[in-house]
């Protein structure tokens, strides 16, 4: 077979490229979209943004730990209150009721 000419190469390249009617239509919103994407990337690339992303796992963990501590502390406080009430004698209860109602006889 004879060697393909530049015209043949051109035909192959043209066949693999988009025709005029196949091209996407220009978008009137592309400029705004590009600016929005650039702003988002800028936030991600800003030192504070990057620091926030790096600290996010640690902050999440700290938040979970604090929530856990708070739950445990609340339960322990409730249990202590119940134990304290249970340990009161009948006389202590009567005295407390009379003090709350304002009597001190």
């Amino acid at each position: 077979m004879k060697e393909p000419t530049d015209a043949v190469l051109w035909k192959v390249l043209a066949a693999a490229s988009s025709r005029e009617g196949e091209l996407p239509l220009p978008s009137p919103f592309l400029g705004a979209r590009v600016r929005a994407v650039a702003a988002a990337r800028l936030t991600d690339e800003h030192p504070i943004g990057q620091l926030a992303w790096r600290l996010l796992p640690a902050l999440t963990l700290a938040g979970l730990l604090l929530s856990g501590v708070s739950v445990v502390a609340t339960r322990e406080a409730a249990a202590a209150r119940r134990a304290a009430v249970a340990s009161l004698s009948t006389g202590d209860v009567l005295l407390a009721i009379s003090m709350r109602s304002g009597g001190s006889r």
């Binding site: 060697e3 390249l13 066949a15 196949e22 091209l23 996407p24 220009p26 592309l30 705004a32």
Partner: protein, 183 residues
């Protein structure tokens, strides 16, 4: 001169956009988007890929606007960015597995008059070009399809003129070998 006033206008819009004027940037996009779509369309057939390359090119231009010195036309600067964005996309596509070529579709491609190839023939052309490296595809598209002088290709790609010549020669030889091998 009409062309120069347009370029001056592009330059002033670029300066204004670099200073934070979003509308100036939108106007630049409006002016140059059709040309960049056509350029990206030389490399890709999938419309979403063409759009992606053009958006990436404008994004790069937007973030580098402060680096535009105005010593050359804005359109040329933008074209260079678009060529690089197309090249990056070609490199990302490089991992595609090669598929077997159908001799009949290659003959159909080669025998058909310009612009009337069947879809199968056009897919075959894509498969043929997938056998080239991104550099070879880029340099062939610019020199053969766009018919750009070597000097312009060097300016757009950032490669030296001898480098462009060597790559174009090797790419032509490789594509001819691929075509000769299947038909």
């Amino acid at each position: 001169m009409c062309g120069s006033s347009t370029e001056d206008s592009d330059g002033s819009l670029a300066a204004s956009a670099a200073a934070g004027n979003g509308e100036a940037f939108d106007e630049l996009v409006r002016r140059h988007q059709p040309r960049l779509l056509r350029l990206a369309g030389r490399f890709f057939r999938r419309p979403e890929l063409v759009e992606e390359v053009v958006q990436e090119a404008f994004l790069k231009a937007y973030t580098c606007l402060k680096g535009f010195r105005g010593d050359r036309p804005f359109g040329h600067w933008l074209t260079r960015i678009a060529v690089n964005a197309s090249y990056d996309q070609l490199r990302r596509q490089r991992a595609r597995p090669e598929t077997a070529l159908d001799d009949a579709s290659v003959l159909d491609l080669l025998a058909s008059p310009d612009g009337t190839e069947s879809e199968v023939a056009r897919i075959t052309a894509g498969q043929l070009l997938a056998r080239l490296s991104p550099e070879e595809r880029l340099v062939l598209t610019l020199t053969v399809l766009e018919n750009l002088p070597v000097k312009d290709v060097a300016g757009l790609t950032g490669w030296s003129i001898p480098n462009v010549k060597v790559r174009a020669f090797r790419a032509r030889r490789k594509l001819r070998r691929v075509l000769g091998g299947v038909s």
